[in-house]
Amino acid sequence: MASAKPYESDWAFEARLRRRIRNLILFSVGLLISLLFFFPVYLMFSSSFKSEGEIFAIPMHWLPHEFQGLRQYQFAFEQTRLERWYINSLFIAAVQTIATVFFGALAGYGFAKFRFPARNILFLFILSIMTVPFQILVIPMFVLVHQLGWHNSYQGLIMPGLISAFGVFMMRQFAYNLPDELLDAARIDGASEFSIFNRIVMPMLKPAAASLAIITFLFSWNSFLWPLVIAQNRDLVTLPVGLTYFSQSLDREPLWAVAMAVSTMATIPVILLFVFFQRYFIEGMMVSGIKG
C-alpha cells in the first residue's frame, strides 16, 4: 500500500494546484474589471478633496497632494444654493415615496383581494400605464400642469410622480399571496375593512413596501427631465438640475472640484441606502426592471 499514498497526494496536489490557478485567474480578471468600473466613482470622491489646480495634474494624483479637507464642499454651499437644492430633492422624494407606497399598497390590496365590477379592466389600465415612459408624456404633462397653474410650484414638481402604476402592480403581486383566512378571521372578529388594511395588510406588506420605497426614492432623487422643464424658479431647483449648472457653463471652465463635491453629496444618500438596506435595495432594483 506504500505506493498508493504518493499517487494519491500527487492527485490531490494537482487538484489543489489547478484550483489555485483557477482562483488566481478569476481573482485577477475580477479585480481588473471591478477596479475599472470603480475608478470613475473613486475619481469623483478623491477629486472632491483636491484643489482646482490639482484636478488636471499629469500624471493624475491618486490621493490629493494638496488635501483640501471639506473646503470644496463648503465652497459649494457658499457659492450656490446647494442646501436649497438638497432640501427640494429630499422633500419631493419623501412625499412621492410615502404617497407611492401608501396608495400603491391600498390599490394593490384592492385589486388583489376584492372582486368588484370593472376590476379587470381597471387593472389592465394600470398595467398599460407601465408601458408608457415619461419621455412621451412630458409635453402633454407640461401642458396639463400649465393649465392647472402649477408650473413653478411644488405641486407641479411632485404631482405627476405622486403614485406609480408600477407601485400598484408590485403591491398587488405581494398582496395576492396574503392568506385569506387571516383577513376573514379579522372580519369575523368585527374589524372594519380599513382597520384590516391598516393593522393586518400593511404590516404584512412591509418587506415589499421597503423595496418599493427605496426604488421610488431613487427614481425621484435621480429624476431630471421633469424638474428641468417644470421648475424655472431658482427656489425650486433640484439637485440633479442644480448640478448641471456646474458642467454646462460655457463662458468659463467649470469648477470641477466643486462639481465633484456636489456630485458626491448627491450620491451619499444612495450609498447610505445601499449600505444599510442592501437586500431591499437589490430586490427593489430587480423588480423595478419591469418598469422599463
Partner: protein
C-alpha cells in the same frame, strides 16, 4: 345583495385614489398628447388644428431624421454590448473565488450615482486635458483627445458612459437568473462529461432564455429614451453638430426651446410607436412569469 357581495365594493374604494389619479395624470395627458400632435401650439395662443401636417413635416425634418439615426446608433450601442458584458460579469461573479464579494460591490458602484452625476463625472474624465486624454493620447499619438467634441468619438462616448453605468444593473438580473437554475442540472451535465463551456452553452443559457429576452427588451426600451447623458455630457445639449441629439433631446428642444409643442407631441407619438413595438416583442417572447425574478 348579500353581505359578502357588498364587501367586495370596498375594493373599489381602495383602488379609487390611484385610478382617479391616473385618469388625470395619465389618460388625460395621453389624450391631449395625441390631440396636440395634430395642431400647431406654442403655449401662448390656443392650438390651431393642422391635421397630420406635423407628421408629414417630420419626414423632411433634418433634425428629426438626424435624431432617428442618433437614437438607433445609441440603442445598438446600449443593448448588444451591455447584454454580453453583464452576462459575462454575472457568470464571473457566479463562480466562487477569493475576494468575490468585495469585487461585486466595486463593480456595482457605477449604478449608485444618478445619470446626471455620472455624466458630470465623465465630462471631467473625458476633458481634453483630463485623465483619459493624458493616458490614451500618447498611445495613439494625439494630444489632447477631444472626446466629446469629435463627431465620431462623441456618440461613442455617450454609449460607453451609458453602458458603464447600467451594466451592473443587468448583471444583477443575470445573476438572479443563474442562481435560479437548479445545481443538479449543471452537475448532471458535468458528470456526463461536458466541460464548463459546454455546460454553460447547452444547459444554462437555454434555461436563461426568459432572462435573456428580458434584458434585451428592457435595455432596448430604455435606450430609446436616451436623454440625460447626451443632455448633460455633450457640449450644447446634444452636440457637437447634433451627433448626440436623440429623440428625447429633440422632444425637449422642440417643446421647451422652440416652443413648437405640436411638433414635439408628434415626435413623442413616433417614439411611443417605437417603444410599443419592443414592448409587444417582450410580452410575446418573454413569459409573463418574468416577475418570478423577485
Amino acid at each position: 345583495m348579500g353581505l359578502v357581495q357588498k364587501r367586495q365594493y370596498y375594493g373599489l374604494l381602495f383602488v379609487a385614489p390611484a385610478v382617479v389619479f391616473f385618469l388625470i395624470f395619465f389618460l388625460y395627458p395621453i389624450v391631449i398628447g395625441f390631440g396636440l400632435s395634430l395642431t400647431d401650439f406654442t403655449l401662448l395662443k390656443p392650438p390651431v388644428w393642422v391635421g397630420l401636417q406635423n407628421y408629414q413635416d417630420l419626414l423632411n425634418d433634418r433634425l428629426f431624421l438626424k435624431s432617428l439615426n442618433v437614437t438607433i446608433g445609441f440603442v445598438l450601442g446600449s443593448t448588444v454590448p451591455v447584454w454580453f458584458i453583464s452576462l459575462a460579469m454575472a457568470v464571473l461573479f457566479f463562480q466562487r473565488f477569493p475576494g468575490r464579494e468585495l469585487m461585486k460591490v466595486l463593480f456595482f458602484t457605477p449604478l449608485l450615482p444618478s445619470v446626471v452625476v455620472v455624466s458630470v463625472i465623465w465630462k471631467l474624465l473625458l476633458h481634453p486635458s483630463g485623465i483619459l486624454s493624458s493616458v490614451i493620447g500618447p498611445i495613439v499619438g494625439q494630444m489632447p483627445i477631444k472626446w466629446l467634441f469629435d463627431l465620431q468619438l462623441s456618440p461613442i462616448m455617450s454609449v460607453v458612459v451609458h453602458d458603464w453605468h447600467i451594466a451592473p444593473f443587468y448583471m444583477i438580473i443575470w445573476l438572479s437568473g443563474l442562481t435560479a437554475i437548479p445545481p443538479e442540472l449543471r452537475d448532471a451535465a458535468r458528470v456526463d462529461g461536458a466541460n464548463a463551456l459546454q455546460s454553460f452553452l447547452r444547459v444554462e443559457l437555454p434555461l436563461l432564455k426568459p432572462t435573456a429576452v428580458f434584458v434585451a427588451a428592457i435595455s432596448t426600451i430604455r435606450a430609446f429614451q436616451g436623454f440625460s447623458i447626451q443632455f448633460v455630457m455633450s457640449p450644447s445639449q446634444g452636440g457637437p453638430l447634433d451627433v448626440n441629439t436623440t429623440l428625447g433631446i429633440v422632444i425637449w428642444k422642440y417643446g421647451f426651446q422652440f416652443f413648437r409643442m405640436g411638433d414635439a407631441a408628434a415626435i413623442s407619438v413616433v417614439l411611443f410607436a417605437f417603444i410599443l413595438i419592443f414592448t409587444l416583442f417582450q410580452l410575446r417572447l418573454g413569459r409573463s412569469d418574468d416577475f418570478s425574478l423577485s
